[in-house]
Symmetry: C2
Subunit: 203 residues, 2 copies
């Protein structure tokens, strides 16, 4: 017989790690049913089976839990590398759309943005999450530069930010979902601008 | 002698209107010094001279006060009409940049977005404010269509949203200011896409 660890303790780190996993899973489930506004430490305690005082001691607030949840969930989107700039942009945009159209992911993002207004520590975490994620996928633009698809002086960061901006504007500010039409116009506008050298840094 | 009303009662509605004016002015001043996170009913009471229980009765929360402040301040940006599509886009973008680069306006916007995550009533107000403002300035695109600068089937709303998205992404999500470079790339990318028919609705 293989030595299978009992259910729930598969993550390394023992009891502390199990508590974290249980509370983050509970938060993720709660955010699939209700918005961030409805999330309370008591609801997390009820769903996770972890005592509310333990949750409060470790994360302090629901914002703290959701920040931790983002840290766990981020970097799950792969960077497309199809050999074609337009197709890379399209796949990336579709992946961002799919991620954000899942209700709970949207609730995590909206919740974090709310928390950022009340807590400069969270503000920093949110900004860093966007900046880091943007930097990761600049590979798409660097590949396109190498193939000669966009001008050499292209600012790769600006191209990716230009792609992400209409999507996050829709989700986080207009609070709607990302439909096929928005995917289309976002890809075409960014592709055209990048090809035409709008994001090229002169001199 | 003309009958001049005593200082502070110039707004119609008497005492209630004076109270509102004093509290909104206090909120606007507070947001010029500190972020939304620092705003409390007690600070508003201290600065406005209005009793905290009066503020609480009328607006319930600081979010309520800031929603009211947005209602008062919105629609202050005029819609450019220079006879040139590119110049109209540039003037509008610069106006949005100037407005949002003023610390207190940025704090109002960030505060409202935070409030929206906790209160669906505020969420609706924020969404409506963006939608209404976007609709107002679609005049720029309709003028461009009339002059033949962009294709006839152009979706004017999408063009303006494409212009606003990178600016609000910077201010509200990355939480930075709108610099000259962002104004430049945003105007050029949107201009190019609109001229090329990216926002045209076929059929």
């Amino acid at each position: 017989m293989t030595e299978r660890p009992p259910h729930g303790s598969a993550r390394p780190g023992g009891r502390t790690a199990r508590t974290r996993a249980a509370v983050l899973a509970a938060a993720y489930e709660e955010l699939d049913r209700d918005s961030f506004a409805e999330l309370t430490l008591d609801r997390l305690a009820r769903r996770s089976g972890v005592h509310v005082s333990t949750i409060r001691r470790r994360w302090r607030t629901v914002e703290g839990v959701v920040v931790d949840l983002l840290a766990e969930r981020s970097s799950t989107l792969p960077t497309p590398d199809t050999g074609d700039f337009h197709r890379d942009l399209r796949e990336l945009t579709q992946a961002i759309a799919d991620f954000n159209n899942a209700l709970r992911n949207r609730n995590v993002m909206q919740g974090l943005l709310a928390a950022a207004a009340h807590d400069t520590r969270v503000e920093e975490i949110v900004r860093n999450a966007f900046v880091r994620r943007t930097e990761e996928v600049t590979l798409i633009v660097r590949n396109a530069v190498e193939r000669g698809d966009v001008p050499e002086e292209t600012d790769a960061w600006e191209v990716i930010a230009s792609l992400g901006a209409p999507l996050y504007y829709r989700v986080l500010i207009l609070r709607g979902s990302i439909d096929d039409r928005l995917v289309h116009t976002t890809v075409e506008a960014t592709y055209l601008a990048a090809r035409s050298g709008v994001f090229a840094r002169k001199g």
